[in-house]
Symmetry: C2
Subunit: 314 residues, 2 copies
């Protein structure tokens, strides 16, 4: 494929894209994806060039049976040495279980919702209880020489409470940073962000969190996911999360799509001349494999259209 003639020459910007489909995506599948299929798809993602993949969650198996095979997945996958495998740890009990598998991952993600109601409904604790547990978990994670990543969910709006103040979100982020998080992600859990706000938010977050990697996690609930990602990029954000095949995310309102599709995000960045370090063709191939495995039509665009082909065909 020829280089896009529409790319931004001379800027040579570089971004990180974490693939979250194996956790965030598979968690939301109505039928549990077989362990062997999960392993096969994660290995395909590794071959596509991802250096960050969220692979498992140490949640209770009775709460999220779709991810009950997390340990088998960690043991079974075979990704390149330089891939950082992320696991989600919802609480100290989850961390106990995760640390038994310390050899199998490099990044631990903790999270809270900026909205009190969403946090309560999601994990049945107050925001303050969650943050107190984070302060307990953080030194244990850091002591194991793991990267501590933190996520603030409902950063751009809550389906229950509506408005979420930017100040509240950035205050939680600062608490995470003080606890030792070196990467903080901001999640648009139910797709309520818009690009004007994304621009202002990420400019403010980057200013408020020096030395911290600031990550954008947008959803495509109302089709604006890539517009928000572009706005965040222009505001200086260089770290993104997305899900191959547009899998997963929070289906609120019911039936709506969640995460932005990795292959659409990567297609946009690469066409802009922003280097993702990924092989777009292989990312699309992995998403098509997921589609075949799941046996239903996924909602990603590039999975159908393929990459832009710039070489003349006549």
């Amino acid at each position: 494929m020829a280089v896009s003639p529409n790319s931004t020459q001379g800027e040579s910007r570089r971004v990180h894209v974490r693939e979250v489909g194996p956790r965030d995506g598979f968690q939301n599948e109505p039928e549990t994806v077989p362990t062997a299929e999960k392993i096969r798809l994660i290995d395909a993602l590794g071959r596509a060039g991802f250096k960050r993949i969220e692979v498992a969650s140490f949640v209770r198996a009775d709460v999220i049976p779709q991810l009950a095979d997390g340990v088998e997945v960690l043991h079974g996958i075979n990704v390149p040495e330089d891939v950082d495998r992320m696991v989600l740890v919802p609480n100290s009990k989850g961390l106990d279980n995760a640390l038994r598998e310390r050899a199998y991952f490099e990044e631990a993600a903790v999270f809270v919702s900026a909205s009190q109601t969403h946090n309560k409904r999601n994990i049945n604790r107050t925001v303050e209880e969650t943050m107190a547990d984070v302060r307990t978990m953080a030194p244990r994670i850091l002591a194991e020489d793991l990267k501590l990543c933190a996520v603030v969910a409902t950063s751009f709006g809550c389906p229950f409470e509506g408005k979420v103040q930017m100040e509240r979100v950035l205050d939680l982020a600062e608490q995470f940073a003080e606890a030792g998080a070196t990467e903080i992600g901001f999640g648009d859990t139910t797709g309520m962000c818009n690009p004007a706000y994304a621009s202002r938010f990420f400019a403010a977050a980057l200013e408020r969190l020096p030395g911290v990697e600031v990550t954008a996690h947008f959803h495509n609930t109302r089709g604006q996911g890539l517009a928000n990602a572009y706005a965040a990029l222009e505001a200086g954000c260089t770290s993104f999360e997305s899900s191959f095949g547009e899998l997963g995310g929070c289906p609120v309102p019911a039936g709506s799509t969640g995460n932005i599709a990795t292959e659409d995000l990567v297609s946009m960045f690469e066409e802009m001349g922003v280097d993702t370090g990924l092989d777009l063709g292989k990312v699309i191939e992995a998403a098509r494999e997921a589609q075949a495995t799941l046996g239903r039509k996924l909602t990603s665009h590039s999975i159908v259209a393929g990459p832009v082909i710039w070489a003349p065909s006549v």
Copy 2:
């Protein structure tokens, strides 16, 4: 619905959105939409607040049978007085037929592809032949006190030729302007644009075409349609075209979506605090009616998710 707390206060930008679904969308339906249904849906769009609607095309009925009922549609619709009804006129013969219905529309759209190969395959003429015919049609259109709108298709890339030079596109636009066009649209016919290029292109187009309304017509082929629209807006563009339900557009590559969905575009603008003059709820309702009429699941996002609701529900 409460005003978005994420909107851009104090900017109070205003944009125009032309609804092109009744022409560009229905043209691409495999089964011809019954005339009465077309009329019912266009009237619903009128009630949603659109001031610009593309309602018909004066193409040969044997070439595009889906639009053979253009005259009946023009006669049957009942939209508010201040709505500008646009018809597409592909050539002088089409204009002959259109002008017999002069009382039933306010805007005539002529078009050319920036790419020679695409123009030839689309309308079986060279770009030069098309532009010569435009120069014949233009005074006839202007003499009827109609607004002359012109469209440059494949402005951001051609599926056959690949790269399309910005200079070539803007030169064609200047030719249109010299012929009397007061609005010129730039079409991303097969979804090859990216937001970095959209930003540069619309900044250049606005500078090169003083006094001309510059319109962005993006496709969502690779999911980047709204990102491109946001980039064009930020570059100063205030006129957009889109299609309710994400209907229509050019399905190249096969199976891919075409136009951006009007309700997703309007949702983005309104959440940003950019005034569209439209009732988003009614736009979504019209798209849902189209979905029911066509009997298949449409690909728009807001049709499923609905508008962002900011009022707290707890």
